[in-house]
């Protein structure tokens, strides 16, 4: 098994060893920020997003597991029409740009759609490729949706799409997680979109607006292939679970040691099991009491148990960002990376952890391949 780490200073690989451990390996794109990775299980292609500080965001693809790379097209916003009405950030009343600021998510289309990729970006555009990233099209139906004017940035200056969940039963059905714009659904492959998600609660809004689905900040949403109607959400204001594919959400208040965080992962075969990396809400973003833990629920969120074995329990300041936690297809192997440059792995479903390294650049994306 391979573990791909997208870091502030390149793509760093790790490989599983016969004794059940992991060994760090090749580094690619040394010095370049790699915020997003996508191993495409359909054809074995590995995609890497490169974010050059000066020269913009680029997409690279490897057909040999990261040994050699070729540049693919980067999604680009089409020319802004003359006289187009500006969409203003509702919080700051400044125009939302028509430029790719950041690739925040990259996912494959369905198993029946070889070559189809979805790409979510900041400032809020969704792109689709039908040719393995050789060309991209902005999904105009979402970009032109009148409700986009309600979106605003969460953590970044502009809103963005960080989660793209294709329904394994029907590739035309796709869920998006948008910060801050809530949960969006298409049932027709992206021709039309609807903001869904009753039951979310945005504690950062005035009370009368806190339940508005358009203003929610779902830090990350995930589903598995076995029970795709169950969707887990690490929200800015807590942990939520949906049993009806994102239409309605229940806030889960029993989380110990806390319900703030960014990352969430769901067991690939058992949707009642999910993992979270909690921190102190909401501007502190460090482990509670300096003790790092990974919370697991195995009963659909009725209870959460923090795992601490192998994780530092004092003076810890680690933060796992929204794409920094992953579970492998076996449901037992997990890994998470932090903005402090540490990576931990687990071989027992997250009960105990081993540190792979404390010497890495900040880690933004963790993927098994």
């Amino acid at each position: 098994m391979k573990l791909y780490l997208g870091t502030r200073k390149g793509l760093i690989e790790a490989e599983s060893t016969p004794d059940g451990g992991w060994r760090l390996g090749r580094a690619s794109f040394l010095g370049v920020h790699v915020p997003m990775l996508l191993p495409d299980a359909r054809d074995g292609t590995l995609y890497a997003v490169l974010e050059h500080g000066h020269f913009g965001t680029k997409l690279q693809a490897s057909r040999d597991g990261g040994a050699t790379w070729e540049e693919r097209a980067s999604p680009a916003y089409p020319p802004k029409p003359e006289g187009a009405t500006e969409v203003l950030c509702p919080m700051r009343q400044v125009p939302v740009p028509w430029n790719l600021e950041k690739i925040w998510s990259l996912e494959t289309g369905g198993a029946d759609q070889p070559g189809v990729l979805w790409c979510g970006t900041i400032p809020g555009g969704l792109f689709r490729s039908e040719d393995h990233g050789a060309t991209w099209s902005l999904v105009e139906s979402l970009w032109q949706h009148p409700k986009r004017a309600k979106w605003f940035g969460g953590g970044y200056d502009w809103p963005g799409i960080h989660s793209i969940l294709v329904d394994p039963r029907d590739s035309q059905r796709v869920l998006l997680g948008i910060s801050c714009g809530g949960v969006w659904e298409t049932a027709d492959g992206g021709a039309s979109w609807e903001c869904i998600g009753a039951g979310q609660q945005a504690d950062y809004m005035p009370p009368e607006l806190a339940g508005d689905p358009d203003v929610q900040d779902p830090h990350r949403i995930v589903r598995n292939g076995a029970q795709p109607d169950v969707v887990w959400m690490q929200h800015h204001s807590g942990i939520f679970r949906s049993g009806d594919a994102g239409k309605n959400w229940e806030r889960l208040r029993t989380a110990d040691p806390g319900d703030f965080g960014f990352a969430v992962a769901v067991h690939p075969a058992d949707a009642a099991t999910a993992w979270f990396v909690p921190g102190i809400k909401d501007e502190l973003r460090v482990p509670v009491d300096g003790a790092l833990s990974v919370m697991r629920t195995r009963d659909g969120g009725r209870s959460f148990t923090p795992a601490r074995e192998g994780l530092p329990q004092e003076h810890a300041y680690h933060l796992a960002y929204r794409h920094g936690l992953a579970v492998a297809e076996d449901g037992r192997t997990l890994a998470f990376g932090t903005t402090t440059g540490s990576v931990w792995t687990s071989a027992d479903g997250g009960e105990s952890w081993q540190r792979l390294s404390a010497e890495l650049p900040p880690v933004y994306c963790v993927r098994f391949g």
């Binding site: 050059h52 000066h54 020269f55 540049e71 028509w98």
Partner: protein, 89 residues
Amino acid sequence: MPTVEFTANLARQTASAACEVSGDTVREALLAAFERQPQLQGYILDDQGALRTHVVVFLDGQTLRDRKKLSDPVSPNSEIFVMQALSGG
């Protein structure tokens, strides 16, 4: 003919050889350079064709005035250097 030269740091990422080009403005000169090295354009210009926020162009020793349309006039002996602005790195 005007010459266009790119920061050596770009060569690690994409083909960015210096070249002699024709053109009456910086935009025309750069587009002529991009014709020879098509992938280069996205590294220098943003989606709307403006100079990227953290890229700077020197035209005969002066920084470019029109970063949006790149309309600064170019003379036959002009030297255009495309560099990092050091901000944004």
